[in-house]
Amino acid sequence: MTPILHNYLVVGSVLFVLGAIGFLTRRNLIIVVLCVEMMLQGVALNLVAFGAYHRSFSGQVFTIMMLTVAACEAALALALVLALYRRQRTLDVSVWQTLREPEVEPEVEETPPEEPPPPPPEFPRLTPAGLEPKSNQAEEAAHV
C-alpha cells in the first residue's frame, strides 16, 4: 500500500464513522439522511483512491453509480420526510415509535432547557430613502 492510498483510506474511514455517529445521534430526520450521505462520501473516497491505485476506472464507475443511487435515495427520503412532516408537523424521529414491543415503555426524551434566545441582530441603521440624513452633514462637510 502506498502512503497516498493509506492516507485516503484513513480520511475515508473517518468520514464514514462520523456519518455513522451522526446517524445514531441526531434526531432531525433530514440530518439523519444527510449523515448517510456523508457515510457514502467516505466510501466514495475509498473507491476513488483504490481506483487510482489500481489505475482502473472501476472505482470511479462504482462511485458514479453510487452517486446515482444516493440521488435516488435522497429523492425518496425527501418525499418521505415531507409526507411524514405533513402528518406529525415535526421532523423529530422520536415521534415515530408507536410500533414497538407492547411491553416496552416508550422512550421519552427530556427536553433540554430552553437556550436563551440570541440577542436581536444589530443591523446598521440605514437612512430611509428620500430623507436626507441630517447629523452627518457637518461631518461630511468637515471631511470634504
Binding site: V32, V36, L40, V43, F50, F62, L76, L80, Q97, L99
Partner: protein, 517 residues
C-alpha cells in the same frame, strides 16, 4: 467502440431478455397508471409480464449451453435458480396484493414489484460487485415505495420510515465493505476477484479481507434480518399491510442470502477443496455461528411472547434467517458439507411457506375485519376452511413437520451443519433441533387457535379469490415439494456456484508460483 465489447454486450443481452421484459413492463405500468386506473387490468398485466419473463427464461439458452461469464452478469445455474424463485415469489405477491392496494396506485405498485423481480433475478446473475450492489438497490428502492403505497395511516408511514432509514444505513455499511474488497483485488468482477484475491499472500491482507467481508456480511445481514441487524423486522411487518410484510420476509431474504453466497464464494472459494484464506474463513465461520445461534434463539424466544400476528411472523422470519445462516456457516466451515445447497433449498421452501402464510393473512385482513392479533384467527377453520388449511400447511412447514417441505429444508440444514465435523457446528445443529422444538410452541398455538377455538365474531367476509389462489399455490407447493423434493434438491445442488474449471486451472498455476516464491 471495440467490437469485442459490442459482441459481448449483444451476447449478454440475449440472456437478459427476462429482466428486460420485466423492466419494460414496469415502464408501461408506470406510464399507463397515470392514464387509466383499474385494479384488474394492471394486476393481470403484471402477471402477464411475469409469465412472459418466465417464458423468455424457459426458451432462452439452456443453463449448460450458456456462455461462460465474463462481464457484469454470469449466466450460471444459480442465476436460473434465483430467476425461477423470484418470478414465482413475485407472482404470488402480485396475486395476494390484488385487492390490498388502493385502486389509484395499483399500476405503480405492480410496476415496483416487477422491478423487484428483475432485481432479484440480477442478484443471482451478478458477476460484479457493482452489479450486485445495483441489483440489491433495485430491490430496496422499489420496496420503499411499495411499503408506503398500500395504506397511508401513521403506522404504515412509520414502518416505511424505519425500513428506509435502516436500509440506507445498511447499504452504506455494505458499500464500505465492498470498497475494501475492490481495493484488495483491484477488480470488481467477481470471477476476476476469485482469481486475484488468492494470489495475495500477506499477513495484513488477511485482516483487511476479514474486515471487508464482515462489513459486507453485516450489510447483507440486514436484508436477511439476522440478529443484531434484525430490529426493524417486527416493527415494519407490524406496521405495514400483510402483503408487504410477506414481500419483505421473502424477497430481501432470498437476495441477501444469495448475495452472501456469491460474495463468499468469490472471496473465499467455499467450494474449492483448498482454503484460500484459512484464517479469514475461520473468522467468517465463527461469525456465522454466532449470528445463526443468536438469530434463531432470539427470534424464537421473542416470537413466543407475541400476540400480534405479524410481529410473531417477523420474529419467526428472524429465526429462519438463523437457520439459513447455520447453513452458510456450514458451507464456510467445510466445503464438503453441502451447506450451500441446503441454503438454496431452504430459501426456495422458505419463500413459499412464508409468502403463503402472509397471503392468508392478507386475504383476511380487510378493513371490516382486521386480522392483527393472534386471537383474530380464532375459528378460521369454520369461517374460511380453505384459508385455514393453507395457513396450517404453511405453519406446519415453518415448524418443520413432515408432511410439508419445511421438514426437508430444516433437515438439510441440520445435516450440513452436522457434516462439518466441527464440534461448534454440531452444537449449532443441536441448538437448531432444540429451537425447532421451541418454535413448534408458537406455530402450533396459531394452528390451535384456528382449529380449536370458536370464531370470535361473525363478519361477512368478502372473498378475495386472487389472494386465496396465491396462498393455495404456496400451500400446494409446500406439500408437493415434500413428496417430490428430488428435483428441487438437484436444482439447488446444481445452482451452487462452482469455480470455473478453467479459472481453477489458472489458479492452480498461480498458486504454484506463489508457493515457489
Amino acid at each position: 467502440m471495440d467490437s469485442q465489447i459490442a459482441e459481448q454486450l449483444v451476447g449478454s443481452l440475449k440472456l437478459l431478455v427476462p429482466e428486460a421484459i420485466l423492466i419494460a413492463a414496469a415502464c408501461v405500468l408506470f406510464v399507463g397508471g397515470t392514464i387509466y386506473r383499474c385494479r384488474t387490468t394492471w394486476s393481470v398485466s403484471a402477471l402477464i409480464a411475469l409469465a412472459l419473463a418466465f417464458l423468455a427464461w424457459w426458451w432462452g439458452p439452456a443453463a449448460d449451453a450458456r456462455p461462460p461469464s465474463v462481464g457484469l452478469v454470469a449466466f450460471t445455474p444459480l442465476a436460473s435458480f434465483v430467476s425461477v424463485l423470484s418470478l414465482g415469489a413475485v407472482a404470488v405477491v402480485v396475486l395476494s396484493a390484488w385487492n390490498q392496494v388502493p385502486e389509484s396506485f395499483t399500476a405503480e405498485f405492480h410496476a415496483c414489484l416487477l422491478v423487484i423481480a428483475a432485481g432479484t433475478m440480477l442478484v443471482g446473475a451478478a458477476n460484479d460487485l457493482l452489479l450486485l450492489f445495483l441489483a440489491l438497490e433495485m430491490i430496496s428502492i422499489p420496496t420503499y415505495v411499495v411499503l408506503y403505497l398500500p395504506r397511508r395511516d401513521a403506522r404504515n408511514q412509520e414502518a416505511a420510515l424505519k425500513y428506509f432509514l435502516l436500509s440506507v444505513f445498511a447499504s452504506a455499511i455494505f458499500l464500505f465493505g465492498v470498497s475494501y474488497l475492490y481495493g484488495l483485488a483491484g477488480t470488481t468482477n467477481l470471477t476476476a476477484l476469485s482469481v486475484a484475491l488468492p494470489i495475495q499472500r500477506d499477513s495484513g491482507f488477511d485482516l483487511l479481507l476479514g474486515l471487508a467481508l464482515v462489513l459486507v456480511l453485516a450489510g447483507l445481514s440486514f436484508r436477511v434480518a439476522a440478529v443484531p441487524f434484525h430490529f426493524y423486522a417486527p416493527d415494519v411487518y407490524q406496521g405495514t399491510v400483510p402483503v408487504c410484510a410477506g414481500l419483505l420476509a421473502a424477497i430481501p431474504k432470498v437476495a441477501g442470502f444469495v448475495g452472501i453466497l456469491v460474495v463468499l464464494n468469490a472471496a473465499l472459494g467455499l467450494t474449492s477443496a483448498e482454503s484460500w484464506f484459512p484464517q479469514v474463513r475461520n473468522v467468517v465461520t465463527a461469525l456465522c455461528w454466532i449470528l445463526a445461534l443468536a438469530s434463531m434463539t432470539l427470534g424464537n424466544l421473542l416470537a413466543l411472547l407475541q400476540s400480534d400476528l405479524r410481529r410473531l411472523l417477523a420474529y419467526s422470519s428472524i429465526a429462519h434467517a438463523g437457520y439459513v445462516l447455520a447453513g452458510v456457516g456450514a458451507a464456510s466451515a467445510s466445503s464438503g458439507s453441502g451447506g450451500q445447497e441446503a441454503v438454496l433449498f431452504y430459501l426456495f421452501i422458505y419463500a413459499a411457506m412464508t409468502l403463503g402464510a402472509f397471503a392468508v393473512l392478507g386475504m383476511l385482513n380487510l378493513a371490516e375485519r382486521p386480522v392483527e392479533a393472534v386471537e383474530d384467527l380464532a375459528g378460521l377453520w369454520q369461517t374460511r376452511p380453505v384459508a385455514a388449511l393453507t395457513m396450517a400447511v404453511c405453519l406446519f412447514s415453518l415448524t418443520g413437520l413432515p408432511p410439508t417441505a419445511g421438514f426437508w429444508a430444516k433437515l438439510y440444514i441440520f445435516l450440513s451443519a452436522w457434516a462439518t465435523e466441527s464440534v461448534l457446528y454440531r452444537v449449532l445443529a443441536v441448538a437448531l433441533a432444540v429451537n425447532a422444538a421451541v418454535a413448534a410452541w408458537y406455530y402450533v398455538r396459531l394452528v390451535a387457535i384456528m382449529y380449536l377455538r370458536p370464531p370470535g365474531r361473525e363478519v361477512t367476509i368478502p372473498s378475495d379469490r386472487p389472494g386465496l389462489v396465491g396462498a393455495m399455490i404456496c400451500g400446494v407447493f409446500v406439500l408437493a415439494a415434500f413428496l417430490f423434493p428430488g428435483w428441487l434438491w438437484s436444482a439447488s445442488r446444481q445452482a451452487v456456484p462452482v469455480p470455473d474449471p478453467s479459472v481453477q486451472a489458472g489458479l492452480g498455476w498461480e498458486r504454484a508460483v506463489a508457493r515457489d516464491r
